[in-house]
């Protein structure tokens, strides 16, 4: 039921992408306003869907043992946030993109940039709907921790921020090759890449730190060189190099844009590649 709901959200994001693309091609402020409104609508619906899934998770958990005290109830609610398997992580990632995009880009979320972000969300939702098992399964012992919520939320918000930096970088490279007066000027896009990268770096750092603290209580080791951990560290190195190059060496523009693209490739590998190509402690994703 909620699965079909996310299918509708996917179609809405697809529509948003088309609207923003047409807006860019025809320079139409009216289409832009329409795209913006429908994007908010999609985001609202998806938020409702996520809450619905959360409620569903919680209701199913009640079957296996209703909580007695108020604190137990709260813990059960926190544990059953829809963030515990691959399907739910895809949905949440697809939610983070437009949410963070609206927050970080504000009025620059339009045209190609907005279309790209809407397309990414559409693809994530499509993959979740058609390619991934969406059944709700009870939590395995390793995931029963209050760190689950904060670790997954920070990690995916970080991924989303890097996706936004990637989108801005692509826009920069397009604008540099074939300048269009309707697109934001290059220094401004450069600023967007930097701002989203810094945001992503903060969130990825938080994700790694919370993951380490969790691992210390669950496995007795804050760092095990599990492929997921290692790849998140590689990603962190790439963005650390980007920030150093920009702040201390004064790199700007194209070179930073290419580094942001490279960093996002590492993010994608950390998320998808590690889950499918390498085995390790994080393999409860699928």
């Amino acid at each position: 039921m909620i699965g079909q709901f996310f299918g509708v959200v996917m179609l809405i994001y697809l529509l948003v992408a088309i609207l923003f693309l047409m807006e860019e091609l025809w320079s139409s402020p009216r289409l832009q306003a329409a795209g913006r409104i429908i994007l908010w609508l999609g985001l609202g619906l998806q938020t409702a869907g996520l809450i619905g899934r959360w409620v569903e998770n919680y209701r199913l958990a009640l079957v296996h043992g209703p909580p007695a005290a108020w604190s137990e109830k709260l813990r059960l609610v926190i544990l059953h946030a829809p963030l515990s398997n691959f399907y739910e992580s895809l949905i949440f990632f697809a939610w983070c993109l437009p949410a963070l995009g609206l927050l970080a880009f504000r009025r620059y979320l339009k045209g190609y940039l907005a279309a790209l972000i809407a397309v990414l969300s559409t693809l994530l939702l499509a993959y979740a709907s058609f390619g991934v098992d969406s059944h709700i399964k009870p939590l395995m012992p390793a995931l029963k921790s209050n760190w689950l919520l904060v670790h997954v939320v920070t990690a995916f918000l970080g991924y989303a921020a890097f996706a936004l930096a990637f989108g801005s970088a692509i826009l920069y490279l397009i604008q540099e090759r074939r300048p269009r007066p309707s697109l934001p000027p290059l220094p401004l896009i450069d600023g967007l890449i930097y701002r989203t990268t810094v945001l992503g770096f903060l969130l990825l750092t938080l994700g790694i730190i919370t993951g380490a603290v969790w691992a210390e209580t669950a496995w007795g080791r804050y760092w095990s060189w599990d492929p997921k951990e290692t790849w998140s560290l590689i990603t962190w190195f790439i963005y650390a190099a980007l920030l150093h190059a920009r702040l201390l060496k004064g790199w700007h523009g194209r070179r930073i844009a290419w580094l942001a693209v490279l960093g996002f490739m590492a993010v994608l590998f950390t998320y998808f590649g590690v889950s499918f190509l390498l085995t390790g402690l994080h393999s409860y994703l699928t």
């Binding site: 399964k137 009870p138 012992p141 390793a142 210390e216 496995w219 060189w225 190195f237 190099a241 150093h244």
Partner: protein, 448 residues
């Protein structure tokens, strides 16, 4: 300039290299590459595994070259050491300056060096002070006021401590690395397999190496529970009792995500298992015929009348929540053996091949639980690093910084003139907007 420095002063060349950002990026790239190798080559496997996966030549090379334990080999440790040196050098190089900058407040004298952003003039008879004070309070909040060489200077600055941010981050990184080293050299890590009811005085820290405990620990009970039979495991639970000098001191339950600490060591639920302690008694049923057979684990047993062989391959104390079960292989004379689970408490469940049905009459089992045992004095260093990292990131990237000065003086013709000076290295957009508002409101206060 740096080229001449290389030839004239070799020491400063070394210092220049150690403090250079080029070294940082170079080392980060090497570390990233080594880490990629570490995720592609499976780590800490026996030699045979590598020979099978990569072939004799490459397998041998990986094994001998330290690539199979790469994070503790020179390939990784040397660049990490270089990175630590690089960070130390940069801290020594830049920290004094940063401290000086963040402890030295903006004064009337230093403010005059800020770039000028605009001017506003008032006629000689007007008093601009209330207007200026009002506008500055609205836009900038609390401002200081000084006189400098006959001029009045209003001062406002935010984010003076920002230069300390990067140093906090890098000190945090050093703390984390130090914590890792401390854990490696001063920490203890091992495994403790315990049978149900067994008391341990020591735990394993290596193959055939034991380390004594200065207390005793007993596994009272180990349980695996399932959400529903055949479903996901719900809980792995070990009930432990700790003894000191033969006296019971603590009873505790160890679960995944809920470790137990005692006597300076922490016990983590790592894995578990079941073993058969004697032969398994089976009833072989065909129609109304019943016959009892005994099958020791992993030994082929001829069925009566030469009608094939069975082997009890493996036991499970709680097979998917259905209770004790044994994995059997049945080979009817020639051909491939057929494998199936026989469940003790649910003899009706599961397909069984061949003309017989095997029912488990009794299987003596022992349950054991395996704990990760460790003591790591480096963890608190690492956590302190984590805690320092966050204010460091905030200061370095998110703390708004701006400095404003409004210099008020009389021109030679007797008119009041205010010059607005200011700078903000990072937030150019916000700064420009604020500058525009400030000038506009100041001008609105002039009578002309």
């Amino acid at each position: 300039m740096s080229a001449t420095r290389i030839h004239s002063k070799p020491k400063s060349w070394l210092w220049g290299t150690l403090t250079s950002i080029r070294l940082t990026v170079f080392v980060l790239l090497i570390l990233a590459t080594v880490a990629v190798i570490g995720t592609v080559v499976p780590q800490n496997q026996p030699l045979g595994q590598y020979l099978r996966i990569f072939g004799a030549g490459w397998g041998e090379l990986l094994w001998r070259g330290g690539f199979t334990n790469i994070y503790f080999s020179p390939w990784f440790l040397a660049p990490t050491f270089l990175l630590a040196l690089n960070i130390c050098a940069c801290i020594i190089h830049g920290l004094p300056q940063a401290v000086k900058r963040s402890t030295r407040p903006l004064t009337g004298g230093t403010a005059l060096a800020l770039p000028e952003r605009g001017q506003v003039t008032w006629p000689a008879e007007a008093d601009p002070h209330p207007v200026i004070a009002g506008v500055l309070r609205r836009e900038l909040g609390h401002c200081r006021w000084e006189t400098h060489q006959g001029q009045e200077v209003y001062l406002m600055e935010r984010g003076r401590c920002r230069p300390l941010g990067p140093y906090l981050i890098h000190v945090a990184l050093l703390l984390i690395l130090a914590g890792g080293l401390i854990g490696k050299f001063l920490g203890v890590e091992g495994q403790l397999p315990l049978d149900q009811g067994e008391v341990a005085n020591a735990f394993q820290v290596g193959p055939r190496t034991e380390k004594p405990l200065n207390f005793q620990v007993r596994l009272d009970k180990f349980q695996v529970s399932y959400y529903e039979p055949g479903g996901t495991p719900k809980e792995f639970r070990s009930d432990l009792t700790f003894f000191q000098n033969g006296r019971e001191v603590l009873r505790a339950t160890c679960r995944v995500n809920e470790p137990v600490s005692f006597g300076g060591l922490t016990f983590y639920q790592a894995s578990y298992g079941t073993e058969a302690t004697g032969p398994i008694r089976l009833i072989m049923q065909q129609g109304n015929q019943r016959q009892t057979i005994e099958a020791p684990l992993r030994q082929p047993v001829e069925l009566p009348g030469g009608r094939g062989k069975i082997i009890a391959m493996r036991v499970d104390g709680n097979f998917q929540g259905y209770g004790p079960a044994v994995l059997m292989a049945y080979s009817p004379g020639s051909g491939h053996p057929l494998v199936f689970w026989a469940l003790k408490d649910h003899p009706e469940l599961g397909e069984q091949p061949g003309p017989y049905r095997f029912i488990v009459e009794s299987m003596p089992l022992r349950y054991y639980s395996v704990f990760q045992v460790k003591h790591d004095p480096g963890v608190w260093w690492v956590y302190t690093g984590f805690l320092l990292f966050l204010p460091g990131l905030y200061l370095a990237f998110f703390r708004p910084t701006e400095r404003w000065a409004l210099v008020l003086a009389k021109t030679p013709k007797g008119r009041w003139q205010a010059r607005l000076l200011g700078a903000s290295p990072r937030q150019r957009e916000e700064f420009a907007a604020r500058q525009e508002r400030l000038l506009m409101e100041l001008k609105r206060g002039t009578p002309s």
